[in-house]
């Protein structure tokens, strides 16, 4: 946590955890989908479920799905903007189990059928943590560029990926990995000190056991005048 996260973010009120944090979680989900969503479903847990409207959590989540940063003056009118942008939204409540009280499961879908489900928590002061993506346990906080890699569980994948990142002269800050079953599909989340170069990204993308790769931008310093939110790179392949 940096000092500018403690005195900060600069944001639209009224709550750093329920508004700014919610917005950031939705921004991460949008980046994981890697294209503008046409459908957004939000399942709220705990305090998020109880006080969502009071804190503008609903507005902030929709704003994040639209790609707006936490300080964006359009947040109070997020629903109107969603309608203009052709984004259908729905809300529900859900018991996500023994997780932080400010948690939400975000499901975004795009026109051509791609969907992504991200579950995460807003820990206070606008700090967030995603802990599940498309059913896999991962972990990242949006405070650093993050690689998400869905791959087949074969020997040496992690070592290979780590090697490529090291050859790009980038340090790995965190790495989380989970698989469905031995030899099945697996997911890795890797927070890195800076964004991967295009050649390194392309290399990883073409590894035979890599099914799907995303490069999420850092969202903690996303502001409404910066353009880097839209910069998530994408490519899928079944």
């Amino acid at each position: 946590m940096s000092l500018l996260d403690v005195i900060g973010p600069v944001m639209v009120g009224p709550s750093s955890s329920h508004t700014a944090g919610a917005c950031r979680l939705a921004l991460l989900a949008r980046a994981a989908l890697a294209r503008p969503p046409s459908e957004a479903r939000f399942d709220l847990h705990g305090s998020f479920a109880k006080t969502a409207r009071g804190h503008g959590t609903d507005l902030a989540l929709v704003a994040g799905a639209l790609g707006y940063a936490p300080d964006d003056p359009r947040i109070p009118d997020a629903f109107a903007h969603a309608e203009e942008a052709g984004l259908r939204t729905s809300f529900g409540t859900s018991d996500l189990g023994d997780v932080h009280p400010n948690s939400v499961r975000i499901t975004l879908g795009a026109e051509e059928g791609t969907t992504t489900t991200l579950t995460g928590s807003s820990l206070g002061g606008g700090i967030v943590r995603a802990f599940e993506l498309d059913g896999f346990r991962i972990e990242f906080g949006g405070g650093a560029p993050t690689l998400l890699i869905r791959h087949r569980d074969t020997l040496g994948v992690i070592a290979r990926v780590a090697r490529v990142i090291a050859d790009d002269e980038i340090n790995i800050a965190t790495l989380h990995c989970a698989r469905q079953r031995r030899g099945g599909e697996a997911m890795m989340s890797i927070e890195v000190d800076r964004a991967l170069s295009a050649p390194a990204f392309a290399y990883l993308e073409h590894l035979p056991y890599v099914l799907w790769l995303r490069h999420l931008p850092e969202v903690m310093s996303a502001t409404s005048d910066g353009a880097h939110i839209a910069a998530a790179t994408a490519r899928t392949d079944g």
């Binding site: 946590m1 940096s2 000092l3 500018l4 403690v6 005195i7 900060g8 973010p9 600069v10 944001m11 639209v12 009120g13 009224p14 709550s15 750093s16 955890s17 508004t19 700014a20 705990g46 305090s47 109880k50 006080t51 969502a52 409207r53 009071g54 804190h55 503008g56 507005l59 300080d71 003056p73 947040i75 109070p76 932080h100 009280p101 400010n102 807003s122 820990l123 206070g124 002061g125 606008g126």
Partner: protein
């Protein structure tokens, strides 16, 4: 870093906070530029808040800061009035979904600017001199966040307003020339006297009691600075005070942690307002 480490610093506490970050020159410059930007945003939100009487989303607040600012100062205590009005100005902007700086949260965003900018303006101190105290405030918040989540939903309002008051107390102490030891004790005394404060927003909206609470705890921070600058200290070591607050936070039932189901929210009128708003 612990508060005990910080208290032992020989120079300014804010310098020790910066040194502890292990930044290179460029990162250090970026931090200071960022804080300057935060300071400008704080000023801007105070100005908007003092000038506006537009109601918040629910209509429960919106005119308090302006009303106080324009009221006659019958107490003959301009500092008190200024600190309270600034703090509420920020939180009423927050309640209107205006632009504010979370410090450390949005619900507690008025305390640090209320105390720090309030004291500075009262004494005619330049904004340039507020950057270092703001860094210190952030450093105190960071230390607290290593022990507990700074969120009403996990630790009650003591975690939010208590933290902001501790941060503000240290900042004001440094602004007025207090050494690192005095800054840390100002923070500890502010925290110790906020322990137990529950989070009970009416209807779940960050308005009542939040707006007036920022006014009260901005003043609380200034009084803590006053005691520390006079040499008073916390008998309980500052790090132990944080531990105590964290343990009280864990004892709080969910009703008193930002669910809007206990305390002032759970009064007949609080419940009625919540029902009306839900419609």
């Amino acid at each position: 870093m612990t508060l005990d480490d910080l208290a032992k610093a020989t120079g300014r506490a804010s310098d020790a906070v910066i040194a502890d970050q292990g930044l290179d020159d460029a990162e250090r410059a970026a931090l200071l530029a960022g804080m300057r930007e935060r300071l400008r945003e704080m000023r801007d939100s105070i100005e908007r808040g003092l000038a506006s009487d537009a109601p918040s989303r629910t209509g429960m607040v919106g005119w308090n800061a302006k009303g106080l600012w324009q009221a006659e100062d019958l107490l003959g205590a301009p500092l008190l009035k200024r600190v309270q009005a600034y703090a509420m100005a920020v939180n009423e902007e927050n309640a209107r979904m205006g632009r504010i700086v979370a410090a450390p949260t949005a619900g507690s965003a008025g305390t640090v600017p209320g105390a720090l900018l309030g004291v500075a303006d009262h004494l005619g101190i330049d904004d340039d001199r507020l950057v270092a105290p703001l860094v210190l405030a952030a450093g105190i918040g960071e230390v607290i966040s290593q022990t507990m989540f700074i969120a009403g939903s996990t630790g009650g309002c003591q975690a939010e307003i208590g933290s902001s008051a501790a941060m503000a107390a240290a900042a004001v102490t440094e602004l007025l020339g207090g050494g690192a030891d005095a800054c840390v004790h100002a923070a500890a005394m502010a925290l110790m006297n906020t322990i137990g404060l529950v989070c009970d927003p009416v209807g779940g909206y960050v308005e009542v009691p939040c707006v007036s609470r920022n006014a009260f705890f901005a003043v609380h921070a200034v009084s803590s600075a006053q005691l520390a600058l006079a040499g008073l200290t916390s008998v309980i070591p500052p790090d132990e005070v944080i531990q105590a607050m964290a343990s009280v936070g864990r004892m709080l039932p969910p009703e008193l942690r930002e669910t809007g189901e206990g305390g002032i929210a759970d009064t007949p009128t609080g419940r009625r307002i919540a029902l009306e708003m839900a419609r």
